[in-house]
Symmetry: C2
Subunit: 349 residues, 2 copies
């Protein structure tokens, strides 16, 4: 006889001899009916195994699903297994949960012309770190709220940290002690994959990823100020902010003959810097004596290792909270730039 059809609000109304509107009110608007009746309804509901109004029906009727979709750049593996992204997500989840919403996870590669499954029914979209040039946002319902994190979308609010000044500051600090041969290790520049050294032709101007461009621009400013020709400073690219992708690139760099090997690495993330640290130690290079390193993000691991990482601390949890509040309409949707702190560690004293 299969399943005995889930009990509906109407069944419960019939059972209790009241109208469906009253049942609905008992669940959603306590002030619309007498406490006594409400008690009786909720009690009977529990007794009869009615599990509350059906979410699918409610979302059709009200037009709201209580789902917020988070669109992550790249694959989920990459985006999720990353201290920064996971802090962002937990900040988002914290606020959503406190307001009865849930989080749908989408990766950029799912942004085909038609959104998969239920993605189109989200009440809003938080989009994290896409490349502006890839126009992946077209399939999103144009009317729904959208907040961009770490990049910009024309006409939409976005949340950033002060990447440029922060990178200027950390690079300035690093260059206050003379560097014979500084180098920049940067995160993905463009949609086109590229691991390894980058020629001057494919640099700042072509940088598509917003944070990469801002951070780079901060580094350049400090380098120029310190008397280096930014265009002449070696730059190496890593496609993904993971140990396994960074490692080969950094190994190639560290295996350069001593007179070509950089003595200062301005890294665009702590993950890169920590990978460099691990690989340097393995080669018997001393940090900071033989190699100085700066990071970005301020992830916990960087502060536990010896030497402690010199880095820029950003509060990704707060970034997530703010994005969520904005998408829920708890604060005015308007672009924000959060501040960061310079953490002087031992990797670049």
């Amino acid at each position: 006889m299969s399943t005995p059809r889930r009990m509906t609000l109407k069944d419960l109304a019939r059972e209790l001899g009241v109208s469906t509107a009253t049942i609905s009110n008992a669940f959603n608007r306590p002030d619309q009916l007498s406490p006594a009746l409400r008690e009786r309804i909720l009690g009977e509901a529990k007794r009869l195994g009615y599990r509350g109004p059906d979410a699918k029906a409610r979302s059709l009727r009200t037009g709201r699903s209580r789902i917020i979709a988070v669109v992550l750049a790249e694959s989920l593996t990459y985006s999720i297994n990353d201290a920064v992204a996971s802090e962002l997500l937990s900040g988002i989840a914290e606020v959503l949960d406190a307001h009865g919403h849930t989080l749908l996870l989408l990766s950029a590669r799912q942004m085909r012309s038609e959104l998969p499954g239920a993605a189109s029914m989200a009440d809003g979209y938080i989009v994290y770190g896409l490349m502006p040039s890839q126009d992946l946002l077209e399939p999103l319902p144009p009317q729904s709220p959208l907040v961009a994190v770490d990049f910009d979308v024309e006409g939409r609010p976005s949340i950033h940290v002060d990447d440029e000044p922060a990178c200027y500051a950390i690079a300035r600090h690093a260059l206050s002690r003379r560097a014979r041969r500084p180098a920049i290790i940067n995160l993905r520049l463009t949609a086109e994959p590229c691991n390894g050294p980058i020629g001057a032709d494919r640099r700042l101007l072509s940088a598509d990823q917003t944070i990469t461009r801002s951070r780079l621009s901060g580094f350049y400013r400090a380098l120029a100020e310190a008397g280096h020709d930014p265009a002449g400073v070696p730059m190496w690219n890593v496609e993904e902010n993971t140990f396994e992708v960074c490692a080969p690139v950094l190994e190639a760099l560290l295996d350069l003959p001593e007179d070509e090997r950089p003595d200062l690495l301005l890294c665009m993330s702590d993950r890169i810097a920590l990978t460099a640290l691990t690989l340097a130690e393995r080669r018997g290079l001393r940090v900071p004596e033989d190699l100085r390193l700066t990071g970005f993000d301020g992830i916990a691991e960087g502060q536990y290792r010896a030497p402690r990482l010199t880095t820029v601390r950003q509060d990704s949890v707060e970034k997530g909270r703010m994005a969520a509040r904005m998408i829920l309409g708890l604060i005015e949707p308007r672009s924000h730039t959060l501040t960061t702190d310079l953490w002087l560690g031992d990797s670049c004293p």
Copy 2:
């Protein structure tokens, strides 16, 4: 004047002079109408800006939402920023996406008596690594499919790896070279938090987390076989599989006087072992000469560092794929145990 009301299937039908059923078929059942008409409908739909059938309405009518919820133990911060969990998630996402489903993320702490927001409308639930004793699953709709990963739920399919034999094998290998003072570092044992050394009273029998119990039991078997009294082997607990939570515990352990300090650490995860490795190096302890280490999971980072980690490799991506296939009904829902590989590295040769 607000928004000019989203165009509906009915509007499109009127516009084209066909029935709504035909429009619906054009989108969902191409074989139910002539190719020519279908062409015309899809063309006109695009021209008029009709973005396809509304997901909310569809899910009410069909009873399916195309959403699969993944319930993660603990907070999202902890669960997500973990190589194993993120591999699991990406395996799940890969399969879901290929079949037009999307992934809703829930944390165990959201499992209150009423599921938040749209969580109750999921078509199925994949639950990861909860403690069986905390009965968090009660709020889930009892009829919907459920797959448990890394633990068991009465009467439901689950997916495991062969924790016990794998841990037996790696401990047996580790103990084949005489250990003066082995110790076990294990993941959370019970719902009640506990970081640090654990007395014999709160051990195997009280272990609530399924994988902890299985792994521990494998270690015990090998220890007993090697002539150690398992109950006498020091055991230290870490609450979370993160650098920042493991570090203080391991620091306390490594700072013991030399004659009390373990010379072999059987760790329940690579994260623990890698943290131990980092902290040991910082103290000038040589691995494996002064301290031997084994891990579990086979995460990438462990194979890049020197010394390479001796560990048990499990395929978490495949675990995720299998869970997703099961929940979508692509394979028979039945408990599975995946096999693992022993990877002999240099941390415990």
